[in-house]
Symmetry: C2
Subunit: 426 residues, 2 copies
Amino acid sequence: MTTASICTIGDEILIGQIVDTNSAAIASAFGAEGIRINRIVSIGDDRDEILSTLRRELERSDIVVTTGGLGPTKDDITKGALAELTGAKGYYSDSRQLDIIYRILHSRGLDVMDINKAQASIPDTGETILNKLGTAPIMVFRIKDGTYGHPATLYAMPGVPFETLAAIPDVVADIREHTGLEAICHRNIMVYGYAESALSEKISSWEDALPEDVHLAYLPNPLTGVKLRLSIYGGNSEDDSKRLDGHVAELRKILGDAIYSEEEDTLEHALGTILRENSLTLSAAESCTGGEISHLITTVPGSSAYYLGSVTSYAVSVKEAVLGVDPDVIDRYGVVSSQVAAAMAQGARKVTGSDYSVSTTGLAGPGGGDGVNPEGTVWVGVATPTATYTKKYEYHSDRKRNIQRFASSALFFLLSRIREDLSQKK
Amino acid sequence: MTTASICTIGDEILIGQIVDTNSAAIASAFGAEGIRINRIVSIGDDRDEILSTLRRELERSDIVVTTGGLGPTKDDITKGALAELTGAKGYYSDSRQLDIIYRILHSRGLDVMDINKAQASIPDTGETILNKLGTAPIMVFRIKDGTYGHPATLYAMPGVPFETLAAIPDVVADIREHTGLEAICHRNIMVYGYAESALSEKISSWEDALPEDVHLAYLPNPLTGVKLRLSIYGGNSEDDSKRLDGHVAELRKILGDAIYSEEEDTLEHALGTILRENSLTLSAAESCTGGEISHLITTVPGSSAYYLGSVTSYAVSVKEAVLGVDPDVIDRYGVVSSQVAAAMAQGARKVTGSDYSVSTTGLAGPGGGDGVNPEGTVWVGVATPTATYTKKYEYHSDRKRNIQRFASSALFFLLSRIREDLSQKK
């Protein structure tokens, strides 16, 4: 199995100023290719520390990826360390990256200074993969057997997250071309509504019956549910693909609608696809989720094709004035109730003219319950062209995570109701 | 200077399933105490790897903090490794943590099983700090000079982020009590609207004039601006405190309103405080930010005291129907315009009855500009009891980060306008 280490370089992570999202993105992409990550290390902008850490990781792993340390004011440290590590005799300038540097800076109305041009300068032991979104190219150093006891490849990537994210597929393609990765046949199955342990129990007989060469991984995430990844390493024949389809079909018999996607990794993307494909429109009425549902829906590029908008009715007066919720219903049942969730969803549907609408009303905390509902309770409502549905969920976390779980529960409940409607039409 | 290493234990981070937010939180809290982080390492659930990594980090740092690996099904590996590392002869049960375990599980309607009780079981070489929000206590191992050449302390914390976050102050207090941290006098000054380099240029003469014992750190963050941290190490006298106040007063003369807080770290918290203290209410009208502004405002506990709600008018029809934006204004000036931003803010103020309202209309991308405005443009509007203001901002990032920057720019512009109004009333 091909192995890798990830090293982030830069004081920003060590002082807690930024959260390292790059490593998770790289680890996840590598995992999908069957590359095992040995360790992730964050170190500061220090030449000796960079050299000793990279040597140690190159000894233990086939691939080492660094991120960061390549900014215009900092690249002397990391780039110089990489030149020393690989025994470079000099530098050359990559003209294609230089073109990108000119284009990016000019588009922002900035002059190209020497420190900017220097970003296209590469140790002569290295090759480049272009960074289309930023100024620092990805540097690739291919190190022969002799040095670390095995052939090793070092990829030096920029630290800016959207540049790193965009370059990962190119790095993976380079690995596939040069390192001879094992072929791999995959299926990702997104499951919502089960804790990992409960899911494992539910599908244990199916799991036990899987052939030995079919590997199953559980990848739980509080916002998107559990991703089940089925893999056949070394398998890429049509036959392997059909075998995996067969196992997924068996799994669907057990889990039913809890499987919400095999193509997309998030509820909001799966929801977007089904709405777009069926020319349906959506709106939202939020209370305790405070805008998070709307935010998630609109993170999907192209969401304006199906999403009309939302009302966040944090105050009761807004529930009444904008969404038209009957004050008597609030008085009689309380704000956190099935009835108010239903009225909010109906109100948003009416006021925006959407086909579907989803609503939330609950208690994210802190401050405890309302006497009837404990903190962590949410009622979700879904108004459809023909009916209104509500469902209660309960969580036990802090305010921030309760809000996130309320939002993902609402998206899942909505998605299930839309699927149900579509299946009845067929 | 006291130094520390952070080790996260668990396969979840290595396979990219979760982003490591705990390390940033710990590093940030330690940094505020003058503790320098040497490195952050993520390793898998592997006994040998845990032992060799902890030994190496205990050699180089005064303090090592581990997170994760203490769940009910996994604690045998990490806890066993810690027992072996510290030469424990057996385990004891911490009765106070056991009480918490019973309370938490019972409150969720769950039975306490043996694997749950085992979480209160501690190697006899260790002490505990209670985990009030979770089942696994924080374990503390104080290791004398002989083993690593210096006294070292190992803290084993849980991996669940809200439990870790809540326990950090207790760990810091323990370090302060036992390790003899240097006293430290701090001021945090939050500045919005400057890139780090531009800010550095703007305040260079002030910075150059700082006495040698006053240290300045720049902590930039795209969402909250640049945090300037002024510190006097070893200083905690009233005189030191007054000196720092003097330097901050000088800085205010240069930066003016760009300084938005000395107490709070985020725009939404600073905004919440000023609204609450002045009994003002707020609403929002979002387009391209899609709910993110409302989400940020409502992450603040107690925001229901001042926040009434919002309308996310993703579709033009919702801008017209719910917010009452004149279709002629949209036709004449385009959706992304000062005029529409103003009308949206006024509409939200009217429909919710709030004192203030903030609006956004722009192009988060992808897909390029609209012929007039490039992708990354946002118009922000603020409607006040007496007037309406608008301002244009431009960013160059991907969809997700553009949305975040649009939202933080809107919050800052709103905060500035409220401050301006309040200062004129005085």
